[in-house]
Symmetry: C2
Subunit: 338 residues, 2 copies
C-alpha cells in the first residue's frame, strides 16, 4: 500500500509502506474511509518538533473493520468504526475517570494517512457508528476522531456553563470546533479571536457572536472592553504558543477557567503571574474516547456539522499538497480519501 | 501605640507607630483582640522577598470596632469583627463570583501586629461574630482571618469531594488547616506529607490517616505506591516552592486537581510537563472573605478547632521572639495578644 511518510521539514512523501498486520490479539485492522491532516502534523512538518527518522503520518481515522485479533470481543469485522489518536483499554482507573489519553496501556496510533491502519486495543479504542454512514456524513464522522473531540475537551476543561461568556483563542479547526462545542454546552456569548476572513465566517456559523481580530496584549484589552473590564468566564486555548497561552490567561476573569489543548511549544508559566491571575487551568491531550459516543450520535442525528472545517478534499495520493495547503493557510483542514 | 515593623532580613522591631485614623469614610478602626505571625511574613523576614522600606507587619486580625467612617452602614461600633488580608467591597463582579481577593477595589490590610488597625471598605471586608467570643475561642476565631480560610481555599480549589483521596503538601499552619478543611468537605482518605513529629501529630488530629515523610521525587513515588499507582484525586499545595509544586502536580492523578495557595517564589511551570500531567490547577490569594461567615459559624458552634495551630502565645510586646520561633521552626504559628 502507499501512505504518507515524513522525512524532515517540508519533506512529506507518498510512498510504499508495508501493509499492517495483527501484532497483538487485541488489535484490529481497519480499511480507511477517510483520514486527514492535523494541525499538530504541521509542528514536525515545519521543523518545530524533531522526528527520530522517517515517520508514517496521520492519526485521525474512520473506516470499516477488516480484521480483528482473537482477543477482540466487542468490535466485529465489517463494522464502521471511529477511534482516537491514543489507543486505550477503557478499563483502567484513568480511563474510568474519563482520561483515556492517560490510559495505563495507551499507545499512539500513527500512520493513518494510508488505506489500512492497525489499531491497538480495539475494544477499548474503537466506537462503532449505528451503520455505514452515508457519504455526506463522512467528514463530520471523521471530525469526531480528533479535531471535534479536542475542541470539545477544550470547552469542557474550560468549564463552559449555560449562559457563560466564552472566548476562543485560535482559529484553526480545533478552535472553530471549540466554538461549536461551547455553543452545544449552552454558552451565552462566544467571542472568537481570529484575523482571517474565511475562518471568521465559519466561527460565526458555529456560534460566535463576535470576532476580535487583535492579538496579544491588544487582544486582551479588547476582550476586557467587551466584558466591562471583567474578562471571560471560560477561555479555550487552541494554539499552544507562549503568546496564545498568555492571551488566554489574561482574557479570563478571576475564578474563570482556561481549557488548553494546543500542545505547548516553548511555553513556560510564571508561578506568580498565574497565582495572581486567579484562573483555573486544565488541559492536555484530549480524552476524545470519552466523548466519542455522544459526538457520533450528534453527528448521526445531524444536530451538528463539524465536517464544515474540511475546506479541502483530496485523494490520499495528493497528501503532499494537503500538507502544503494547510502550511500556507490556504486550507483550514485537508480531508483525504483513499 | 507600639507595633511590629520590619526593617530588613531578620530585623523586626517593636516600636512606636502613629495610631491609625479614619482616612476614607468607608474605613473602620478596630481594637485588636488578637493577631499573629503568618508564614508569608517569613518570606521578607528571611530576605527572600524585598521590602521597599520599613514595613508595619501583620495582616491577620480580630477585635472590637472602635470607630467607623460616616459611610459605613453595616458594621457598628462595639461589634466583634474578623476580616481578611485584602479589603474588598464585596459588591463588584469579582466579589460576586467569590473572588474577593481580586476585588476591583481591593486594598492590602497591613500593620495588624499592633493594638489598633485601620480596615478599609469595612462593610465589605469585615464580618461580625454573633457576640464577643469567650476567651478560649479567640485563637480559632483569629485563625479564620487568614490561615484557616487559606487552607479552606486550597481544598476548595483542589475540588475535594466526598470520598476523595487527598494529599496535602506542606505541614505549616495552612497545610494543617487544609487537612481540617478537606476532612470537613468529606474527604475519604487524607495523606499528609510531613517530616516533623509535632506537625504530624496535629495533622492526624485534624484528619490525616497517613503521613508520608519523603519529599520530592521520593515523596511522589511513595504517594503512587499508596494509591495503587493512580495518584490522588485532590492535592493541596501549601508551600510555594518549585519542589513543592512539582511534588503536588506529580502526586495528582490525570484529571485530578491541584489547589495551590503558597505564594510561588521562583516557580516556573513547563508547559508540556503540565499538559501531559493532565491535572487541573487552581490557586491564588485565598478569597477568605467568601468563606468567613461559614467558618465563623463552624468555630462558634465548636465543630472545628483551627486555633490548635497556635502552639506559641506571646504578648504583642514579644513579637520579635514570635518571628524567631517560627523562623527556627520551634513554633508552628505564634499568636500575639496586645
Amino acid at each position: 500500500m502507499r501512505g504518507a511518510v515524513l522525512y524532515g521539514p517540508g519533506d512529506v512523501r507518498f510512498e510504499d509502506r508495508a501493509e499492517p498486520t495483527i501484532v497483538n490479539q487485541t488489535d484490529a485492522i481497519i480499511s480507511m474511509a477517510a483520514t486527514c491532516v492535523c494541525g499538530s502534523d504541521l509542528w514536525p512538518y515545519r521543523g518545530l518538533q524533531a522526528i527520530a527518522g522517517p515517520t508514517p503520518m496521520g492519526h485521525e481515522y474512520c473506516g470499516i473493520v477488516d480484521e480483528v485479533g482473537s482477543a477482540v470481543r466487542l468490535i466485529k469485522k465489517g463494522q464502521f468504526v471511529i477511534g482516537s489518536f491514543f489507543a486505550s483499554d477503557n478499563t483502567c482507573p484513568h480511563c474510568h475517570h474519563g482520561y483515556q489519553t492517560s490510559c495505563r496501556h495507551k499507545e499512539f496510533v500513527g500512520g493513518a494517512q494510508a488505506p489500512l491502519l492497525r489499531v491497538p486495543l480495539a475494544d477499548g479504542t474503537l466506537v462503532a457508528s449505528p451503520d455505514v454512514p452515508p457519504d455526506d456524513l463522512i467528514p463530520s464522522i471523521l471530525a469526531c476522531s480528533d479535531v471535534l473531540g479536542t475542541g470539545w475537551f477544550a470547552a469542557d476543561a474550560a468549564n463552559v456553563m449555560p449562559g457563560a461568556t466564552v472566548v476562543v483563542v485560535g482559529d484553526g479547526a480545533v478552535g472553530l470546533l471549540g466554538i461549536l462545542a461551547a455553543k452545544q454546552m449552552g454558552a451565552g456569548r462566544i467571542i472568537a479571536m481570529s484575523g482571517h476572513a474565511t475562518r471568521q465566517k465559519l466561527a460565526r456559523e458555529f456560534g460566535a457572536a463576535e470576532v476580535v481580530t487583535e492579538r496579544g496584549d491588544e487582544g486582551v484589552t479588547r476582550i476586557k472592553q467587551l466584558t466591562n473590564g471583567i474578562g471571560a468566564d471560560s477561555v479555550l486555548e487552541c494554539v499552544g504558543t507562549e503568546q496564545s497561552m498568555r492571551q488566554a490567561i489574561h482574557c479570563t476573569r478571576p475564578g474563570g477557567s482556561v481549557g488548553y489543548v494546543g500542545v505547548p511549544h516553548g511555553v513556560e508559566f510564571d508561578g506568580q503571574e498565574l497565582f495572581y491571575a486567579h484562573v483555573r487551568l486544565h488541559g492536555g491531550p484530549a480524552p476524545v474516547r470519552r466523548y466519542l459516543p455522544n459526538l457520533i450520535e450528534l453527528v448521526w442525528e445531524r444536530k451538528i456539522n463539524p465536517g464544515r472545517v474540511f475546506d479541502l478534499t483530496l485523494p490520499l495520493a495528493e497528501v503532499v499538497e494537503g500538507y502544503r495547503a494547510m502550511d500556507e493557510r490556504r486550507a483550514i483542514k485537508t480531508l483525504l480519501r483513499p
